[in-house]
């Protein structure tokens, strides 16, 4: 007999008036750690709000740990939520906030305080920091406090919405360690983000969501493979745009080129499936003295390209 799925979406659609939040999602996830990857406005937060029961699906049904999440106190006892928004009162101190939320879970005042101190220490909030009012917190400190309240009651399922945003590199490393430790205890986590490398260290299972639909799912390697196959746009500002476009097309380094005249040189936008080969080619022409390049960068976010391509595949355009 297969174990009960942790999350079950059955033809779930959520409409905000005429705006589509999520579109006909059918999904079954076994307990484990998952990364929910998607650009801004993809429907990640809607999906998380459906999971926490804050939103009712317009159509279909949602089951979390075998229960309907809507107004389900029993489920909330087993679930931890770190939202992407603030959601904290600025006039009280971080420690008190975590203590209150633990008391709502049913901890006694003394237990809640002990537990809150432990968890805030775990996320790197020292005594001075946790006893200050939240209004004086940096973005990173707020993130840490939110994470502390989410894990403090030891939920079976942890839902994190952009948990690493606003953290400095050291903070990211610390939080990643905390979450790795958490996952190693066998607990389930869903992490929503739009930055792939942020969660690569935490999980190998990803769900790619865009336009309110789960477009693909797989491991980090499979995502990278997809990224590699997706055409990428490279923008180059140089002295001879037309010449560069002709050479790249002739050598098969680019599939399409667009040249526009700019005040500081020609701007060439090249569409390529092999960005590294194109870079090597451009470097060679610079070395030979044929070309002067003022700027070279990707014209779009690679993940966004991936999502755009996946959307085209779903629409049957590719």
């Amino acid at each position: 007999m297969s174990p009960q799925p942790m999350i079950q979406f059955e033809s779930v659609t959520k409409l905000y008036g005429r705006v589509l939040g999520v579109n006909d999602i059918t999904l079954e996830l076994a307990p484990g750690a998952y990364g929910l990857l998607g650009p801004n406005g993809a429907g990640k937060s809607t999906l998380l709000n459906l999971l926490t029961g804050q939103l009712l699906p317009t159509r279909g049904s949602v089951q979390v740990l075998g229960m309907n999440p809507r107004n389900n106190a029993e489920l909330m006892r087993r679930m931890g939520f770190c939202p992407g928004f603030e959601g904290m009162y600025s006039s009280i101190c971080g420690l008190d906030w975590v203590v209150y939320l633990l008391e709502m879970q049913g901890y006694s005042r003394a237990d809640a305080k002990r537990r809150a101190v432990d968890c805030m220490e775990l996320v790197g909030m020292n005594e001075e920091g946790r006893c200050r009012s939240i209004s004086s917190y940096s973005r990173g400190m707020r993130q840490r406090t939110k994470l502390a309240q989410a894990i403090a009651h030891e939920p079976e399922l942890l839902i994190l919405d952009e948990p690493l945003s606003g953290l400095d590199p050291i903070g990211r490393a610390q939080m990643t360690d905390v979450l790795k430790n958490w996952i190693s205890l066998g607990r389930s986590v869903i992490i929503a983000t739009h930055v792939l490398h942020e969660i690569e260290a935490l999980t190998q299972s990803f769900l790619l969501i865009s336009g309110g639909r789960v477009l693909a799912s797989g491991t980090a390697g499979e995502v990278h493979e997809l990224l590699f196959k997706v055409p990428m746009e490279i923008l180059i500002r140089c002295n001879d745009g037309r010449g560069l476009a002709a050479r790249t097309l002739k050598d098969g380094l680019a599939e399409a080129a667009r040249v526009t005249d700019g005040p500081q040189g020609d701007v060439v936008t090249l569409t390529t499936r092999n960005a590294s080969a194109l870079s090597l080619g451009v470097a060679k022409w610079i070395q030979e003295g044929d070309l002067r390049v003022f700027e070279m960068r990707t014209a779009d976010d690679s993940l966004q390209s991936l999502f755009n391509s996946l959307m085209k595949i779903h629409r049957g355009e590719i």
Binding site: I92, Y100, G106
Partner: protein, 329 residues
């Protein structure tokens, strides 16, 4: 050397029952509201009328012991506060200010027990009808508007409801915040006044004559505090901007008062018009009068009580609807 694991530590303990979870919501509200220096000042001034009335009880008890000086002070105090001709009016139509009620109290009742009951009731009536509403209105104007609206704006409600907290517990916690502060300026001073009176009385037998007053105080407090609490919470739940809720709260009182004054001018004295119910100030005043002093003839009391009940029910329904579907705000 043993290596200590400083990583995540599991908690092993017993969780408490869910029945007191609303009190955590209330505690957050109470602590946040107390940060307002205006609230603290108001709380201080809210007790001044109670202290003055406590002093008057002292004077009354002294006058009952045939203390000439106390009798003179009480009589002078009453006379100073009297408007010309009001004593007669008070006798005919019941009382409508402190001086009248004092005069009435002093004229009514042949025995000390009757006089005491009348006098204490008159003082309590004044506390509930005049002094406390003037503090209650701005106090709620400070406490209530941000209670739910700010949760909607900051989306703190998502944090609340990601806990095992029901909608009813959340509403109860928010209401308890207001009820506690209002009780501190209505129920508590009135009860204190009563016990001060008992302590200043010649013997404990006074309790047998005034035993009904604590119950009356409790019911009057409840009938004022509960509708005010839910009305103000409803206004808070209807917006994400607490200033709009504040504005609506004060508007209800001001426009109600003005409407009552206009309607009253054109209505026959003694006749009750349903339009008079628009002024909460007068409705509470009438209901408090009716509950504290059954001898007062209050026109349209059933209608006013029904109106308060309906107001509370509608407010609770609206709050429940808004809090159950916060994402639609």
């Amino acid at each position: 050397m043993p290596i200590h694991n400083l990583g995540y530590r599991e908690w092993k303990g017993e969780l408490e029952s869910s029945s007191t979870r609303w009190s955590v919501v209330a505690e957050i509200g109470i602590r946040r509201a107390w940060h307002s220096s205006w609230l603290r000042r108001m709380m201080f001034f809210a007790w001044v009328p109670g202290v003055i009335m406590g002093f008057m009880i002292f004077l009354f008890e002294q006058s009952e012991k045939n203390d000439g000086a106390a009798q003179d002070i009480l009589r002078d105090l009453t006379r100073v506060m009297m408007q010309p001709g009001e004593r007669e009016q008070a006798r005919e139509h019941g009382a409508d200010n402190l001086a009248n009620e004092l005069a009435r109290a002093m004229n009514w009742g042949a025995t000390p027990a009757e006089r005491r009951h009348s006098f204490w009731s008159a003082l309590l009536l004044n506390l509930f009808r005049r002094s406390q509403p003037l503090i209650l209105i701005p106090m709620i104007g400070i406490i209530a508007p941000p209670l739910i609206s700010q949760d909607f704006r900051s989306r703190a409600f998502l944090m609340y409801f990601s806990r095992p907290l029901t909608t009813v517990q959340y509403i109860l916690g928010k209401a308890a915040t207001i009820i506690l502060y209002l009780s501190m300026i209505t129920l508590l001073p009135a009860m204190t006044l009563f016990f001060v009176g008992v302590l200043l009385s010649p013997d404990i037998s006074v309790l047998s004559m005034t035993w009904d007053l604590p119950f009356r105080i409790f019911f009057v407090s409840a009938i004022i505090v509960i509708p005010c609490t839910f009305l103000s919470l409803m206004l808070s739940s209807l917006t994400t901007e607490s200033r709009y809720a504040s504005f609506s709260w004060f508007s209800i009182w001001i426009f109600g008062f003005l409407t009552y004054s206009v309607v009253n001018q054109y209505s026959t004295p003694g006749n009750f018009s349903i339009m008079q119910c628009v002024s909460l100030f007068h409705v509470f005043s009438d209901v408090a009068g009716w509950m504290l002093d059954p001898r007062l003839a209050v026109a349209g009391i059933e209608t006013q009580l029904a109106m308060l009940g309906m107001l509370t029910a509608v407010s609770i329904a609206v709050i429940y609807r808004r809090v159950s579907a916060p994402m639609q705000v």
